[in-house]
Amino acid sequence: MKIRLKINGKDFAPHIYPSMILLDLLRDLGFKSVKRGCGTTNCGLCTIIMDNKSVLSCSVPAARADGKEIYTLEGFQDKAAEIAEFLADEGADQCGFCAPGFVMNVIALEKENPNPTEKEIDEYLVGNLCRCTGYMSQHRAMARYFAHKQKEA
């Protein structure tokens, strides 16, 4: 079957098979920032933004993406670089495998709530697992990032 969707602002019309998941479709189309992690909808590695909401692409049937507007990390290079600086400054990036999904969810949080409290940051990012950092460095990095954004505004 054929679907039409917009990825990072560009139109695509790929052929998919009936039980294909969006994660596989995106990777087949070359969007390799979208990582396959647990495959059980738990780890957050495959996070993308679909119609302005962060979702786990490992659980979205590709057919359901028909007519949708999708963003992967490839569509947010400048924003990703900015967030990555804060992660690096706090030592919050070790193996880096979780980073694309994590950054996508930070972007989703910023769109939904530009001035989150530290508790709101933790609650929003709890679905992004990281086995390297123990989360405290990520917590510090994002607290600093949002404080910086609030000063800018």
């Binding site: 079957m1 009936p18 039980s19 998941i21 059980t40 909808t41 738990n42 957050g44 996070t47 909401k53 962060s54 979702v55 786990l56 490992c58 659980s59 979205v60 049937p61 057919a63 359901r64 028909d66 969810n105 989703a108 949080l109 609650e123 929003y124 990012l125 709890v126 679905g127 992004n128």
Partner: protein, 264 residues
């Protein structure tokens, strides 16, 4: 992930119901649990084109479409204003925001999962399930029934003045609950549901004639004991039956204190 020969976006509940009568076909709701199965389906039935992701408030009830996401319900201010803010406590620990942006209310209720926070929460409110064929049935009845081929169209919650309070105990924040507890405070009495026992949640009712609206600390302990004794508990990898029973009592005590022990 399941495999399917066809993926069909249905245009009506009628079409979904007809297709769902074959055992080899299956409805895809949020696809959070179904995607974990390795079933070979003939037709995957997608309800996402039915515009059933609504939350509608009328004078007497809330209607929640089967495809409404848990996140949309969690963030719905009108629902929280009517039934109390603990809807976010009940839903907010379910994996992560991304998960709840896809998981649906209909799928969660249909699953009747033992670990379901959603089921435990809704059981203490005056909740009904609107089924395509069987019509409107009380949630407590639906929760106790076996799986069949009917289709949930929406969940209806009557505004009868009840407030819901919710607590759960988890080994880690986003894991399934070891035990979940909810209290619905009504003008005539209290409704208690205990879930993740690890069997699915059930609800019991305690009248104010037996346990008055104002409770002393000793009466709170005694009512919590009564509630925890009213359910059966089992053992699995997360906890033993005895520990579950103990935590059920602790959570019920906390909930009773949270309610302020006064009728609405």
């Amino acid at each position: 992930m399941f495999t399917a020969n066809e993926y069909i976006k249905v245009k009506s509940f009628d079409e979904a119901y007809e297709l769902n009568q074959k055992r080899t076909n299956k409805i895809v709701a949020g696809n959070m649990m179904l995607r974990l199965s390795h079933r070979k389906l003939n037709k995957a039935i997608d309800l996402s084109g039915l515009e059933a992701d609504y939350i509608l408030e009328t004078e007497s009830e809330f209607k929640i479409g089967c495809m409404c996401t848990l996140r949309d319900l969690e963030k719905n201010e009108a629902f929280a204003k009517c039934f109390g803010p603990d809807i976010s406590e009940a839903l907010g620990h379910i994996v992560g925001v991304q998960f709840r942006n896809s998981a649906t209310v209909g799928g969660s209720i249909f699953g009747r999962f033992g670990f379901s926070d959603v089921l435990t929460y809704f059981l203490v409110l005056d909740t009904y399930v609107n089924l395509y064929k069987d019509g409107i049935v009380p949630l407590s009845e639906y929760a106790a029934s076996d799986y069949d081929n009917d289709v949930i169209m929406e969940i209806i919650v009557n505004k009868d003045g009840r407030k819901a309070y919710y607590e759960s105990f988890r080994l880690t924040d986003t894991d399934f609950p070891v035990i979940s507890a909810a209290v619905g405070v009504h003008k005539k009495g209290r409704f208690f549901a205990i879930g993740a026992r690890p069997a699915k949640a059930r609800v019991i009712y305690a009248d104010y004639s037996e346990f008055p609206e104002k409770l002393s600390p000793n009466e709170i302990a005694s009512l919590a004991e009564y509630v925890s004794e009213s359910f059966n508990y089992g053992t699995n990898i997360r906890a033993g039956a005895g520990y579950r029973k103990h935590i059920a009592k602790v959570l019920t005590e906390r909930l009773l204190k949270k309610t302020g022990c006064e009728k609405p």
